[in-house]
Amino acid sequence: MQETLTTATWFWLLVPMPLLVLLSLFSLLRHSLRRHG
């Protein structure tokens, strides 16, 4: 019996949205390096 979220659900929950946070963090770092680097 399934006792936790299905594997596909874990994937779609934990990949797309946190990935967008990381992308925005990388573009912030790139921007500040270009400005102050």
Binding site: Q2, E3, T6, A8, T9, W12, P16, M17, V21, S27
Partner: protein, 494 residues
Amino acid sequence: MTGSVEINFALLATLIVYLILMILVGLLAYRVTSNLSDYILGGRRLGAGTAALSAGASDMSGWLLLGLPGAVYAAGMNQLWIAVGLTIGAYLNWQFVAERLRRFTAAARDSITIPAYFENRFRDDTSALRVVSALVILVFFTFYTSAGLVAAGTLFEGTFGIDYELALAIGAAVILVYTLLGGFLAVSWTDFIQGILMFVALVLVPVITIMNLGGWTETSQMVAQINPGALDAFHDITLFGIISLMAWGLGYFGQPHVLARFMAIRSPGDIPLARFIGITWMVVALFGAMLTGFAGIAYFGESGLANPETVFILLIQALFNPWVAGCLIAAVLAAIMSTIDSQLLVSSSALSEDFYKRFFRPGASDTELVWIGRGTVLGIGVLATLLALNPDAAVLDLVSYAWAGFGAAFGPVIILSVFWRGMNRNGALAGIVTGALTVLIWERYEGGLFDMYEILPGFILATLAIFLFSRVGKGPTEDMKREFDEVQRAQREG
């Protein structure tokens, strides 16, 4: 009996403190607002953090703490797709539109409203673009604002047993006082506080609920016994349904109350930081809302709740001491108010900047224009409150309708206006009219393709109309091309 009176006193006291704080912020903003540009766009001096949280809190209405947890509680993790779609839309908006719109609105005769931007960007000497887009804003936002007020009134009636009309009157009065006094800065600064409150509540409530249930493993085992389908994002949903939910994310490019935050940021260089803060806030908030609904399945068991949308509030009342509960319920109110105030101010700008100043009193003094701005906030606020006094289900249905209307009518025009040099006034007008009409018609039919959320066909057809009609009539003038190239160059050089 004394127990419940005491609890109610603690809840009410914290809420009253919160409402007074909002009015104080309004007074503070009143002191630094001297002309219509201050009143409508804060004189373009928002910092990255304020712009980010203000965009997030304006965008996320009471739906984030009522509707989304309720939907996950009732249907399970197949509601995940709307969160994924919304986050992708918000990210693309911050990444591809924000910086360009900030530069283009400043370059196009310092436009401080979306209708003014359309008129100036496309050198429309007929005023048709400005009048049509200002009317779209006035109609959709009056109803959208009214739906928010209904949510606020219902929340208080349900939580405190206060009379609906009284709750509505108090809520509307507080919003009107700080918005009317302090304009855009009051709205943005209160949004910042409201955004923080929402963030704290959306982290605290699911974490405490899951701990109370014995941890994550126990929580999901309990859900598995109650409703095993809730564990699967693909349960009881078709690909068509997933696309329809994710299509909500297309709405962002055309929401005037979100775009205003891009236009109001101090400098284009502040946008990378604002984007990171805004997306992080949103992802944590959406996770918190979904987890609350999920944990609610385990907490309230099979007996279920009469109204799933109360799951967040009932968990607060069950698990927290009354003073903390008061702050957390204030967060629900904050979510509702932070959306209403921003929409109210954009509607007011459509009357004060786009009609009064543009057509009747172009030479009016700053003082006159700011007071006209305040008058229009009052007028639209009172109208929305009167509409909310006799709510029927139709008002709440209007939210998805208004979201789609703005998304389809303005979204493609905004995106192409900052990317396509060859776009002209005819293309823009055709895009707005096609987007609005498609949403209007699509929503009226049912069955087959018509069950798709109307924003998707509206967005696609509006985009096609822009490409088609930009070929009609005069192409962009030399002046427009030069302006476009200058902004593009500044954008590339960063």
